[in-house]
Symmetry: C2
Subunit: 335 residues, 2 copies
Amino acid sequence: MVNVLDVAERANVSSATVSRVLSGSTLVRAETRAKVVAAAEALGYEPNSFARNLRKGRGSSIALVTGDIEHGIYPRLAKHLQRELELINLNLVLFNLGHRQERLRHMLQHATSMGLRGLFLASADIADMASLKPLVDRAAGKGIAILSVSQRLEGFGIDSIVHDDLAGAGMAVEHLLARGRRAIAYLGRISGSEVGRERSLGHEQALLRAGLPIDPVLVWDVREGFRSEAGYRMTSAALDRGLHVDAIVAASDELASGAIAALLDHGLSVPGDVAVTGFGGISWGNYLRPALSTIDLDVAALAERARLWLEAHEAGEAHPALVMIRPSLIVRSST
Amino acid sequence: MVNVLDVAERANVSSATVSRVLSGSTLVRAETRAKVVAAAEALGYEPNSFARNLRKGRGSSIALVTGDIEHGIYPRLAKHLQRELELINLNLVLFNLGHRQERLRHMLQHATSMGLRGLFLASADIADMASLKPLVDRAAGKGIAILSVSQRLEGFGIDSIVHDDLAGAGMAVEHLLARGRRAIAYLGRISGSEVGRERSLGHEQALLRAGLPIDPVLVWDVREGFRSEAGYRMTSAALDRGLHVDAIVAASDELASGAIAALLDHGLSVPGDVAVTGFGGISWGNYLRPALSTIDLDVAALAERARLWLEAHEAGEAHPALVMIRPSLIVRSST
DNA sequence: TTGTAAGCGTTATCAG
DNA sequence: CTGATAACGCTTACAA
């Protein structure tokens, strides 16, 4: 393994000079710089990141902490975040909780020891924030940059960059109202949990704005998460109970796909009998039949803001505690 | 930041002893060990991974190199790999190529410098392997563990753990033949590329086994990758040309969803007029209507084998150059 | 503009 | 079974 000393020797300079050249310092004579660069080149020198990080006292990776990286917009989020971090020479390390709360504790506890520079929280089910707070503070105190990129956690002192779920759900409901729908169900509440609360609230508030009552039987809980299966099950159950619905606002595209399947299986037509909207803007939504109208989440924008936040944080600059990314409605044939 | 010396001081031992205790060495008196553990506990000691890695000369993360982490089975793969690596205290860092070949070169070149312990290649479009080979060898020579987890690359001296695509495609074709289909198209060849070649071959061989001819017009190229849009486009184009087909074997679930959409849009029924199979076993496939019959890939098994491979590799034990994971057919209503 | 030298926190070697 | 000590490769005061 060739190191700075080898390069220094070959270039007839000191290791300090080599280091200066390689870290792009300007305080080096052009001529010297050239010599060093040539020597490094010739020897195939590659800096050792551990030594550098050890010396500098900080690492070069950010952990993306997800509940379930497999579903919803998380794969897209991971992709965009990685791309953004790469711009500032940081790595994205993946940490999937699999919905085990204690693993988050573990993560928070060992963030410094793992040499992480920051933590992007993208787990949808951070429930017990109160008990987590001390750990978060401890990590933050040690210089770990902590940002929530899925839930609004600014109330707990954690900066948050999130999609404007409230507005998104509102847009869906308003679109359905404009289409003449009145019995607009909400699919995807997780009762007793903050998860998806904003979306559920968006549905509620939009109905109230329109002067419509909130019918509790039209708010459907999912316990198994935002996946197709839950959508299918809850929609089926509602239909079996003979509920009257003419539209469903689903909290995710996957839930929506399950809902549509259930409706079709019950002999109903979409959107003829029941219109359905999704949430997320997943790519295959356009190839469901009927094609899924959905609230498209601008994940690329979110990822960029996350990078900007990180840069500001590292520079010690001020940054807003909450950024909301505005989603947009995509109208397709399911509504 | 509390370090080994602090712990040593508090426990009245040397840093060496602390290190021994913390790395679980048995050559320490139980009593001494207890003192050290207590001191570490009391001080809230956390080992510094950079120092450790620097000293040990190797890191603790594996990079997952994908072409596009957003689609297909890659999110699932990432999830399972992370879980497996966690078992052996390794991190998974994400590196998404976005289908830019030169970024792979870069990755290979800087793997050591980034302190990576290994590289899992999961990019479907590693085309120019010949030119990449020297870089791979160089990295391998430096002790980087390199494993392909999507393409068969054992011919290039790269150990590979892959799904048995040949068998999978064969199972799909045989299933369709058993259902009486004869004009079985293959959707998803990328002409002039090794990508998906095994699947395409599986289709071909299964037809030949059944004594059926290969009709070139029934092999559909996709240039835009294995996504829904391409499936829709190619299927539409074929139908517009008036081609007779009674079944489509798609190289991915996303392609299949596009194909089904195109068929329905052309007024055809699935599976009445045309049966369709997917590839992957994506979770929402069961909620398409008709529900998608597919070749289910056992990603969890693949991930486990990958971990086992890594352990063997590190232990210097022998390990097979090629492991094939057997997929299974899931029959739903699209066939 | 460049060199010297002192660490960063850990582990491995060698004595004891 | 334990301690002293020398690295690992890099950056950064401080000197020159």
